[in-house]
């Protein structure tokens, strides 16, 4: 085995894998916390783990992994139950109940740590905050490649890896086996319960699995990373897809990317600026936050930029419609077109844009600054005026508006190409003729997503 690879196995393998396993198992479960608007629950559980660890240490008098794990798990479950009790008995909203429980339990843990009997316990605030995955060195990593085929070799790997792997398996099996039940219980708890899939049973089951994942991850990577990993991948994935199944896959991908990317970014990026490597858990958290930011900005449908583009396109369509409507009315009055300056006086600052867009689509022609409808533009604008006047007729006839109150509303409704009032008369409430129904090809139905 080459020296570099051996170095990797000794120094980087265990921390990297620990971060990856923790991120993926938390990221997977986080989907259901985010969907059920319980994101704070991960926060609550991961903070209350501290007193659990301390009390377990007091009882067992050792830092052996099993008692630590059981203590933390008991604390996690206790948090869930306490939050429910507070909600019910204290009549508190869920956020307040979670906030109270985890701050009090965390403080209790800190107080206990101050206790003299615990001075020997190497559980300091740093470790609680961001864990110590960098120190999970696999000193016994063999130099021979073939040795990795033997299970005995893996038995010498840091024990945290095994715990995290078990926790990931539990999370994944839980989500896969109860996918259907989690979906209905998260979406519609009442119908779910009525159909025999008790939403509160699913809630407690989910919380216990979250507690397991949190506790397993906590020792390795600290509480900051746990909280970020429960929320960030799920929130990122939610922005990138509208299907629960793909959201789960995307969140796993995001979690894995931030774990690996964050680990190496923490090790190498500070070096570029002549600084020391930073804490890996912190770097992973920052990377997952950055990924979320990217999704907020660039998500193809929910992203800020995509939304702005869509809104701009709709505004342009509206402006173009208004231009066509104005030209149609000008033709009705006997003229065969209008100067750009006159149109700008009616339509405002976007006129130039609208003219450019309409002429690109062959709807208007501009000869020496005089804008006129083409045949195609005339058919299009007749459809628009038809919708406008049908709406005016409908608003007066069916909705009881006064004739002089309907123009502005119709001016908005005319842009909707679906659900125009059917079969109107020949004239609108102001006596203007309603153009006949045009060729359906010029009346395409728009993408109902709102584009």
């Amino acid at each position: 085995m080459p020296q570099t690879l051996h170095n990797f196995m000794v120094l980087d393998f265990a921390p990297l894998l620990a971060g990856l396993l923790a991120a993926v198992s938390c990221g997977l479960l986080g989907n259901f916390l985010v969907l059920r608007k319980l994101s704070l629950m991960g926060d609550a559980i991961s903070h209350s783990v501290l007193p659990g660890l301390v009390i377990a240490f007091l009882i067992a008098q050792s830092r052996a992994p099993l008692p630590m794990l059981l203590g933390a798990l008991a604390a996690g479950v206790a948090t869930v139950v306490l939050v429910e009790l507070l909600k019910r008995l204290g009549k508190l909203e869920p956020g307040a109940a979670m906030g109270v429980v985890f701050s009090v339990l965390f403080a209790l843990g800190v107080l206990l740590l101050e206790h003299r009997a615990l001075r020997g316990m190497d559980l300091d605030a740093d470790c609680v905050l961001h864990g110590q995955i960098e120190y999970r060195i696999w000193a016994a990593a063999p130099t021979e490649l073939s040795a990795y085929l033997s299970l005995d070799t893996w038995a010498t790997a840091p024990v945290q890896l095994r715990i995290l792997l078990i926790s990931l398996v539990i999370s994944a099996v839980f989500v896969v086996v109860f996918f259907k039940e989690l979906r209905i219980a998260s979406f519609d708890p009442q119908a779910s319960t009525a159909a025999g899939i008790s939403a509160s049973v699913m809630h407690y089951a989910l919380m216990i699995v979250v507690a397991v994942a949190t506790v397993a991850s906590f020792e390795a990577v600290g509480s900051i990373l746990v909280i970020a990993m429960l929320i960030c991948p799920a929130a990122t994935a939610r922005l990138l897809t509208d299907r629960l199944k793909s959201q789960l896959w995307v969140s796993v991908g995001v979690a894995a990317t931030s774990a690996v990317g964050g680990y190496y970014a923490g090790a190498f990026v500070p070096g570029l600026f002549g600084l020391d490597a930073v804490n890996a858990a912190g770097a992973i958290t920052v990377v997952s936050g950055l990924l979320l930011l990217l999704a907020v900005l660039f998500s193809p449908w929910h992203g800020v930029i995509a939304r702005a583009v869509r809104q701009r396109r709709v505004r342009l369509d509206v402006l173009r419609d208004d231009l066509l409507g104005a030209l149609y009315r000008i033709e009705e009055s006997g003229e065969d077109g209008a100067e750009l300056a006159d149109l700008r006086a009616v339509l405002g600052s976007g006129t130039q844009l609208a003219v450019r867009s309409a002429s690109r689509q062959g709807l208007v022609s501009g000869d020496r600054g005089r804008i006129a409808l083409t045949d195609k533009g005339r058919a299009e604008s007749a459809g628009l005026i038809r919708r406008h006047r049908l709406w005016e007729h409908y608003l007066v006839g069916e909705a009881g508006f006064r004739p002089d109150h309907v123009h502005e509303t119709a001016e908005r409704l005319e842009h909707l190409r679906e659900q125009t009032p059917r079969r109107g008369p020949d004239a609108d409430p102001h006596g203007k003729p309603i153009p006949p129904e045009s060729d359906p090809n010029t009346d395409p139905s728009i993408d109902p997503r709102g584009a």
Partner: protein, 289 residues
């Protein structure tokens, strides 16, 4: 303190199994508490934090009928449904479905909650939601098989939503969302349906579609109980009506229970509603005359 309902004179049917038999005095007072009735509620009281919401409710629903539950806001209409389905605890009373407790009748009972109770931004499609109606039939921990998905698809088709099966539910209009909910209820293939305000905030064509589906359900032998808020359409849409205001004011065929007196007792002094009601009564009597 039970309100005597017009229905209580209905012919008595098979006796209750001895195993579950209540005291004879109770049986005498409620002869129709039987395996024939899809829903039989006896002396049900529901309280939230010691404040009664429903008080001593008795109700028997005839099979193969459409029943409207009517009453002012806060009268306990939704609570009535939830208490029947064990979604909120009952202080007293028992509820039987074909003479059985809800636990045993669960797969024969469908429920359609109010549309506002769920998050319509949830990342599922219309078909996913319709498939949820099949979950009970599919059973725990098993994936939705193709045949169940096809059955759910057929239900979407029955409510005119087949073309929207792959839409994410937030992209549907309110009326379309309501139809998806209805499709999910249909997918349960239940014999008794509870629907909470199925007509709330829907467009005219959705309202017609829902009415068509309800009548179709009745044709196929199902019983439907709807919380309904539009007094104008009760006569046209429903066979029976239950007037509730914390207790049952009246229940029975719409033409019998829809009187100015009962409506007044149900709605109290709410004038606009009363105007609406008297108009509805006038129209109903014209229809009979």
């Amino acid at each position: 303190m039970t309100d005597k309902s017009p229905q209580s004179s209905a012919p008595s049917a098979a006796p209750t199994p001895t195993r579950l038999r209540p005291p004879q005095s109770v049986l005498d007072a409620r002869p129709e508490h039987s395996a024939q009735s899809p829903l039989s509620v006896h002396a049900m009281t529901v309280a939230y934090r010691r404040k009664p919401v429903l008080w001593d409710v008795d109700l028997d629903v005839e099979p193969r009928t459409l029943t409207a539950i009517i009453g002012p806001n806060g009268a306990g209409k939704s609570t009535f449904i939830k208490a029947c389905l064990n979604l909120v605890p009952r202080a007293t009373g028992d509820v039987e479905f074909w003479g059985m407790p809800f636990r045993k009748a669960r797969s024969r009972v469908g429920y359609m909650p109010q549309r506002e109770t769920v998050d319509w931004d949830f990342p599922v499609t219309a078909l996913d939601v319709a498939c949820m109606g099949r979950y009970r039939k599919i059973g725990w921990c098993r994936p939705v098989s193709r045949s169940h998905r096809e059955a759910a698809m057929a239900c979407l088709d029955r409510v005119g939503m087949a073309d929207y099966a792959d839409r994410q539910i937030s992209q549907l209009s309110g009326g379309q969302q309501q139809r998806v909910f209805l499709a999910r209820a249909l997918a349960q293939e239940a014999e008794l349906y509870f629907m909470d305000e199925p007509f709330a905030g829907v467009d005219a064509s959705t309202e017609r579609a829902i009415v068509r589906v309800l009548r179709d359900l009745r044709e196929r032998g199902s019983t439907v109980i709807c919380v309904h808020h539009d007094l104008q359409t009760v006569e046209a849409y429903f066979d029976n009506a239950v007037l509730i205001n914390m207790r049952i004011v009246a229940s029975g065929p719409v033409s019998e229970v829809f009187t100015p007196d009962t409506l007044h007792r149900t709605y109290g002094g709410r004038l606009t509603l009363l105007d609406q009601a008297s108009e509805a009564v006038a129209r109903a009597s014209r229809g009979r005359g």
